[in-house]
């Protein structure tokens, strides 16, 4: 009898685990492998949050994970300057620029758009975190197709965890109040970009299609035309 109960419990737990559908990189982003962009242009983010810093934090920390993923990234501070000169200042205006203009001006194979949906600092006694929700979209400048996209909520823990409750309360308050947001932005970007098929400068270029674990619900449909 007990053995049957255990069996039922185990099956329930396992089927609960199986409810998150994961796919391989090749399955999630086939156009990324056929288009094979080598250079990525990062444009200003659309910031839907009340955190004024969010777009700047993104712009100053996104180059690293993209470059480590094997792509040439056009120096972001100057992309913004050149776009400003053209009267394009924010993420909303950028999305109105035809994609082939980025190819003409910069010779960019793909453009990375990001919408920062939320950036919340949460504080609760002995715990704290920064929760960031962002949607990333990489579009081809030649086909206009969406080559890669990822929509995620990342929770970065700023809690104290010494085991001493008073110390933890203080540590959490300090770390949540004076939190250094650059590492958090790094963590968010890094985690999201890890789903991207790697590019030319990465040792596994063209070989990572078999990599599993891409959560399908975060990727939505690819191959959409703007």
């Amino acid at each position: 009898m007990l053995r049957n109960i255990i069996l039922v419990v185990v099956i329930t737990i396992l089927s609960g685990c199986a409810s998150v559908v994961t796919v391989t990189k090749q399955q999630a982003y086939p156009d990324m492998y056929t288009d094979a962009p080598t250079s990525i242009l990062v444009v200003p983010a659309i910031n839907q949050t009340t955190a004024a810093d969010a777009a700047e934090l993104y712009a100053t920390t996104i180059a690293q994970p993209l470059a480590e993923a094997g792509y040439y990234v056009f120096s972001i501070p100057f992309v913004e300057k050149f776009l400003e000169r053209e009267g394009v200042v924010d993420g909303e205006q950028v999305s109105n620029v035809p994609l082939d203009k980025f190819r003409d001006l910069f010779d960019a194979d793909a453009v990375l758009f990001v919408t920062i949906r939320s950036w919340d600092t949460n504080y609760f006694v002995t715990g704290g975190n920064v929760t960031v929700a962002a949607k990333f979209e990489l579009r081809s400048t030649s086909t206009q197709k969406v080559l890669w996209q990822y929509d995620d909520v990342v929770i970065h823990n700023t809690s104290g965890n010494s085991g001493n409750i008073l110390a933890d309360i203080i540590a959490t308050a300090i770390s949540t109040a004076i939190v250094d947001y650059v590492p958090i932005a790094h963590a968010v970007n890094g985690r999201i970009v890890s789903s991207m098929p790697v590019g030319k400068y990465h040792a596994r270029h063209g070989q990572d299609g078999i990599d599993k674990g891409i959560i399908q619900s975060k990727t939505q449909a690819t191959g959409e035309v703007k």
Partner: protein, 115 residues
Amino acid sequence: MKLARIMILSVFLVTGCNSVKTIYHWGDYSNTLYTYTKEPSTASRIEHKAELIELIGEAANKNKRVPPGIHFELAMLEAEDGNQKLMMAHFNNEVTLFPEAKKYVALALKELGAK
């Protein structure tokens, strides 16, 4: 039996030491760039420019590549400071390291020339 335990432990140690290998050396780049972007000042500019120069030197020492855009950014700062030769040297380095940068460098030179 003891030998088997040592072997198993060794395997764990070796795989545990297998850290993620990065292509590039980044130094403190994100931090100095963030500070310079958020609070542009003579001081933050000096610090960011120094970081770019230091990063390039350190990359050579650590046998890592200089990341995309670093030479480009330094070239633009040198241009602002009136150091034409250094500007060209860094632009050329960017294109040598990354052929994808060619048009971007040409665009930058055009923008600088138009000033």
